[in-house]
Amino acid sequence: MHEGAILKSVFDIANNSRINANINDVQKVKLVVGKLHHIVFQVMQMYFNIMKFEIIGFDNAVLEIIEREPIIRCNRCGNTVILEEANFTCQVCNSHDTKLVQGDEMYIESLEGN
């Protein structure tokens, strides 16, 4: 699985932000992850709670992950729906011309600490 590789990037970015913001004791790292990504949150938590002790300033940090549902909008009829399965065809007018408006994001939203 790739959760370890993803968390390595999370810590790289979070640690830079920590240093820039003069935070010595990080309390929370908040991520936003779209449901289209194959990421197992329990595995993320498990790795986070191991890896955090290897980086200065993160011993007390908790990981919060905000999950985003995949949403498509039809460019023909304007119908906007949450995807139940990965069928990107418009269920109202059958058009293939749809746009994913949410659900494939994966970013660090914020950092909290003092």
């Binding site: 699985m1 790739h2 993803i6 309390q27 991520l31 194959h38 990107f88 494939d104 970013y107 939203e109």
Partner: protein, 219 residues
């Protein structure tokens, strides 16, 4: 002490994505078509590369991703094909390749006569789909034996690919699979994706594949 809250708003795979873009541009400038092959184990990636190398000879180079062994690299090496092996074992046995590893590989490869650079990614449809390695064309390979619903289970691999190869069509007479439904389902996940059906065993469809490669190499 007061708690500070800092907005970060940075993509987690930002650095990987930046290296991927660099690679994409660099290889385009060199006139090399860069293709990333993703599939479950056994869908026929290595077999198709073997066939292709027979046809395109020295203009092909292959980067092999494997967790542990070098069997595929040896298979290709025995055919006289240029191969570079990346074992992800040292990186903790990752099930994907990252742009930075390809960049390091490319720095060691002599690309002078190369027109097509293939990456055989690690055999699964989950992890490789998450990491952009900068390929000009991402290819997802699905054999007819894998059923009609894989694209719904691994949508990212299909969303992020420009070409889907349906492989092992010689097996169709022995299977109950509905090929039309399989293709319709693939288009439901990605309506823009091109589809080529082929068999490396009896050779059907291979001419479309060779044509696809020639057409997309604009030099």
């Amino acid at each position: 002490m007061e708690t500070k809250k800092i907005k970060v708003m940075q993509k987690i795979l930002d650095i990987n994505d930046r290296i991927a873009s660099e690679l994409r541009n660099y290889l385009e400038k060199q006139g090399i078509l860069y293709l990333n092959m993703m599939s479950s184990p056994g869908s026929g990636k290595t077999s198709l590369i073997e066939k292709t190398a027979n046809k395109f000879k020295d203009s092909i180079f292959v980067i092999e991703g494997d967790i542990q062994n070098t069997l595929d690299a040896e298979r290709l090496n025995n055919l006289g094909i240029g191969v570079y092996q990346i074992n992800t074992g040292p990186f903790g046995g990752d099930c994907h390749l990252e742009a930075g590893w390809i960049k390091t590989a490319i720095e060691e490869i002599d690309l002078a006569s190369v027109k097509y650079l293939f990456v055989e990614n690690i055999g699964n449809l989950v992890c490789p789909a998450e990491f952009d390695i900068g390929a000009h064309i991402n290819i997802v390979i699905l054999s007819v034996a894998e059923g009609e619903d894989k694209q719904f289970k691994y949508p990212l691999a299909f969303r992020n690919s420009q070409l889907c190869i349906i492989s092992k069509t010689d097996l169709l007479p022995y299977l109950d699979i509905d090929l039309k439904m399989m293709k319709d389902n693939i288009k439901k996940v990605n309506s823009q994706i091109e589809i080529i059906e082929l068999s490396t065993k009896n050779g059907e469809g291979l001419s479309y594949w060779y044509e696809y490669l020639t057409q997309n190499n604009n030099c």
